[in-house]
């Protein structure tokens, strides 16, 4: 696969690296918001190489099957795999020769990478560590469309979100929930996510904010219904799933919701 960007990285080149990734990601068709997500994810992988790995690596960016892929390789590990460590390389980074990088430790930033990327694969290895993150490229025209429809069912209010769960939709969602809770502080809310096509950091942050808002209103509850498999998997992998109550169809959720629902008890 022909890369659209290939760049060496070390501790002094991260600013330049971010600028290149941002420019090429937008050029490749990623929305500005998703490009921002890619930039911080790529930065954290690169920072992992320079702070916890060998100190030097390489970043590649390429397009394949409607996805933008970004691979960060820790080059030092490949060279140290057979024990022929080059002196001077590892001293600043504080890594252990031959020990694989991508140790997922709290605070290393890799958890944020997982939250932001559509797909993440980390390959620690003695023959060279690589991390690959992938971001879905929108279909032309579909990127800007989103709607939020409201209907009530069995005493619950169902908000059906379609399109991109991005800054706009996240804002609408927060506003709608705010308005509904102002009308009824004990509102039983269901967000129907079946029509979602993409989400980004704003969208995930919006869902977390809405959940926190509902949890703060005694007696109110929130259920996420018909979540796309990929989003469900994503929330599970990133440890965010237990912050939400999920259900199958929105009408099941509306009917089956216990009074003063359990969704409100997460705090």
């Amino acid at each position: 696969m022909q890369p659209i960007l290939e760049q060496a990285l070390d501790v002094d080149s991260l600013y330049r690296l971010r600028a290149s990734v941002a420019a090429h990601a937008v050029q490749a068709g990623l929305s500005q918001c998703r490009a921002d997500d890619l930039v911080i994810a790529a930065h954290e992988l690169a920072a992992n190489v320079v702070r916890h790995g060998s100190g030097r690596g390489r970043l590649r960016l390429w397009k394949h099957e409607q996805m933008l892929h970004c691979q960060v390789t820790d080059e030092g590990i490949a060279e140290t795999a057979d024990g022929t460590e080059e002196s001077g390389r590892n001293t600043d980074a504080g890594s252990v020769p031959g020990k694989p990088t991508w140790r997922i430790e709290p605070g290393h930033g890799l958890w944020l990478v997982r939250q932001l990327a559509d797909r993440t694969s980390l390959h620690p290895g003695t023959s060279g560590s690589t991390a690959k993150i992938s971001f879905a490229l929108g279909h032309p025209g579909s990127a800007e469309t989103f709607t939020l429809a409201e209907r009530s069912s069995s005493g619950s209010m169902i908000l059906a979100a379609t399109g991109n769960l991005d800054l706009n939709l996240a804002g609408e969602l927060t506003d709608a929930v705010e308005r509904l809770l102002a009308g009824d502080p004990e509102a039983r809310l269901v967000i129907d996510l079946a029509g979602l096509t993409f989400w980004d950091a704003f969208g995930l942050a919006g869902l977390l904010r809405v959940q926190a808002r509902v949890a703060a209103s005694a007696g109110a509850s929130l259920i996420l219904a018909d979540m796309p498999d990929q989003l469900a998997l994503h929330l599970k992998e990133t440890g965010l799933a237990d912050r939400f109550t999920v259900a199958g169809s929105p009408d099941d959720a509306a009917g089956g919701l216990p009074a003063g629902g359990e969704g409100s008890c997460s705090s």
């Binding site: 501790v11 991260l14 600013y15 971010r18 918001c33 921002d36 930039v39 911080i40 930065h43 954290e44 920072a47 702070r51 605070g107 290393h108 930033g109 944020l112 939250q115 932001l116 800054l167 950091a201 704003f202 995930l204 942050a205 977390l208 904010r209 926190a212």
Partner: protein
């Protein structure tokens, strides 16, 4: 532990500075060698404020005015922007400007109308205006006067601008034996170094925002109103030490701490963690107020910052 010990070779505003006044006019190394904090000015001071961005000017002016109003003094602000807009800037920084204006404790004026006479500058005219203000303030029963003068008018082609040094010398004479202080505000990016060096030496105090770090992509400085720190540009782990220093200083503020990130375009996980750790370490009921763009706010939410009791996440629109 998060905080680094202060480096012995680091110096910031508020500490003694042995270097000549002229050095202060030069554009900005890592820590600014101004000798006084804006919050430490007192009666009779004739202070020279240098600023690098409009945000900084409004921030420092807001602190000067806030402290003046709190002390019951009369406050005069001669501003280069429209007085209305200037007042809005102060309100946004938490100053009860409307009531002070209504009660006559505070007055905001356009420089042109008072310092200049018929689009020309005459040191004698400006000084007599200032003397009148000091007298009027005493007559009105105020215990003292604070005057903030935006000197940006002197950048325009105005007749008599060569009398600026005479004016600055004269202000000291006017202030003697009074309960007034004057803060002259100079844009260090726009005034030439020679002029700046010349006027700076005619003040008894030199004031600037304490700057913890500055390079081509990042600036970390103290914010005075509301108190806290300001980050602009892009921040990552390279700035760990100055950020730790800035946060450690902010921790010593009484009450809530504002971290102004409105002009920050990138933040990495390590910097977010340092800021969130500061919030976690705050005793009840103090808060850290994170002011940031929607993009940065979303990252802090994913980080879990909104679930920390002492964090208040405020989204500001990019202006």
């Amino acid at each position: 532990m998060l905080w680094v010990e202060r480096q012995p070779d680091m110096r910031w505003a508020g500490e003694a500075d042995d270097e000549g006044q002229g050095d202060r006019a030069a554009v900005v190394p890592v820590t600014v060698g101004a000798d006084t904090q804006i919050t430490d000015l007192s009666v009779n001071d004739h202070a020279c404020l240098t600023f690098g961005e409009t945000e900084e000017l409004f921030d420092l002016t807001a602190a000067f005015i806030r402290d003046g109003l709190a002390g019951g003094l009369k406050v005069l602000w001669l501003t280069d922007s429209a007085p209305r807009r200037a007042a809005t800037q102060l309100s946004r920084r938490g100053i009860a400007i409307e009531s002070a204006l209504a009660e006559g404790q505070m007055t905001a004026l356009a420089c042109e109308d008072y310092l200049l006479s018929a689009q020309a500058f005459a040191a004698g005219y400006a000084m007599s205006w200032l003397s009148e203000q000091v007298v009027a303030c005493t007559d009105a029963g105020f215990p003292g006067l604070r005057v903030a003068l935006d000197m940006s008018w002197a950048l325009r082609p105005i007749a008599g601008v060569e009398q600026l040094p005479d004016f600055e010398d004269g202000v000291a004479a006017v202030l003697a034996e009074t309960a007034a202080s004057v803060l002259c505000q100079y844009d260090r990016e726009r005034f030439d170094p020679v002029t700046l060096a010349s006027v700076a030496g005619r003040h008894n105090r030199s004031v600037a925002a304490a700057t913890y770090y500055q390079d081509a992509v990042l600036r970390i400085c103290r914010q005075y109103a509301p108190p806290g720190i300001r980050l602009a540009g892009e921040i990552d782990f390279h700035a760990e030490e100055p950020l730790a220093l800035a946060l450690a200083e902010a921790l010593r503020i009484d009450g809530d701490i504002t971290i102004n990130m409105a002009n920050l375009t990138f933040i990495d996980v390590s910097s977010m963690r340092m800021i969130v750790n500061l919030a976690r370490s705050l005793p009840m009921p103090r808060q850290v107020i994170l002011q940031c763009s929607p993009a940065i706010a979303a990252k802090f939410t994913l980080f879990g910052a909104d679930r920390i009791r002492s964090v208040s996440l405020v989204t500001v629109d990019e202006r």
